[in-house]
């Protein structure tokens, strides 16, 4: 009988201790390192430093500004992006955005992504940067002449982004796979712009110029 009573007390103590432990841990996570903790999921495809992984078709996200990451996460969550039948990569990203259900999750992970140092991407495409420089003038109106982007114009930075990803997105915009949803304000602006680069060659030339802005050397 005495043993049974001792066992009961031990179980009760364990339960109480466990609950207290949880209560202490939850707010601690919310205040410190929430973004970093959430970023763990992103690393599965985007890499530990957010440098992107081409074999998984996941772009570099390190150093993207907070406003842009927040906008895109919200687009994925609402279905404004990643719900086109042919957007295979976008549909992979969409459920990941849906995992950010806690209050302040989107803001926290966006801030953490923005805090990561930009990774200089390796070049994977051919293209004539000199030819591309002229055509980039139109892009510069939103993405800035040095490719650092402009929040008021809704243009994200292009420096630090992989060339294969830039090409894939230009093609998606042209095909109407991205930038057709009325809720995707900046995407709607980009869609007609993409049509000013009608050939693969012209797209690769512009991208080659963007790669020089990234400080990439062959």
């Amino acid at each position: 009988m005495r043993t049974a009573k001792n066992l009961f007390v031990a179980c009760a103590a364990l339960a109480l201790f466990g609950l207290t432990g949880l209560a202490i841990a939850a707010p601690a996570l919310a205040e410190d390192g929430q973004g970093e903790a959430l970023f763990n999921l992103c690393t599965q495809c985007h890499g530990n430093a957010g440098e992107g992984r081409q074999n998984l078709e996941a772009p570099a996200i390190a150093g993207l500004p907070e406003w842009y990451v927040t906008t895109q996460l919200n687009n994925f969550m609402s279905g404004a992006r990643g719900t086109h039948f042919d957007d295979i990569q976008g549909m992979r990203m969409r459920p990941m955005s849906r995992s950010l259900t806690g209050e302040g999750d989107v803001e926290a992970v966006s801030a953490y992504v923005a805090s990561l140092p930009i990774v200089t991407p390796a070049r994977t495409l051919d293209g004539d940067a000199a030819k591309g420089q002229g055509m980039y003038a139109l892009c510069a109106s939103c993405h800035a002449i040095d490719g650092t982007g402009s929040e008021p114009q809704g243009g994200p930075p292009l420096i630090g982004q992989s060339d294969w990803y830039l090409l894939s997105q230009l093609k998606k915009y042209q095909a109407g796979i991205r930038g057709r949803d009325p809720r995707d304000t900046f995407g709607l602006m980009m869609q007609p712009m993409s049509l000013t680069l009608p050939t693969d060659e012209s797209m690769k030339d512009v991208i080659a110029h963007i790669m020089t802005l990234s400080g990439e050397s062959e």
Partner: protein, 230 residues
Amino acid sequence: MDWIVQASTYADDVDGAILLITYLVGFWFFLTAGLFFWLIFAFRKRDGVEAEYLTGGEQQPKKFITWAHMLVLVCDVFVVIAAIQVWVEIKQTLPDAPETQTVRIVSQQWAWSFIHPGPDGQLDTADDIKTVDDLHIEVDRPYIYELTSRDVLHDFSVIAFRLKQDAVPGRVITGWFQATKTGEFEIQCAEMCGIGHGLMPGMVHVQSPEEHAAWMASKSNGAMLAQAGR
């Protein structure tokens, strides 16, 4: 099993097979567990009584166990017959009624996409309707599905239909369903397919013929407007 909504013609048959197995296995489970505990109690340690160790080498003490084994085998026959009947109905036959329609279900990490026939009732024509996450079908109409995967193994599972079918990359898997209730029913992926496995829900919208026609019309208009704007 009315407490889990049954919304397809074969839902009740699947439940019947599951219940049959539950009752048979449950009977033997409680019987053997009861017997086991009774034996423990009845033959508990007593002063002056020595334990007897049965090696299993003699037939006589095993007589009652053999009888039980045979009865379990007879129960197995019932289970196998019921399971084969349901299997043949759901997996081995396809509806051939003239009103049968075909839809394509495309699985991928981590989403469900669908190709519905448009107003002409045929796939691979200009009025096909492509959607992500949402499958729209008519109530009381048989549908054949062609299930594919763009990447890894998935499993198209609609609990309300009692339907579960693996999607295998490189293969087109054909099956069927016929909804019996209007409403919205969840689609789950029932095959572990990567980190987003738990985050790829979809929805089947079972509509009356009028609602379905209205939905198709809205999609056709949308498609035409989108093309005009391009």
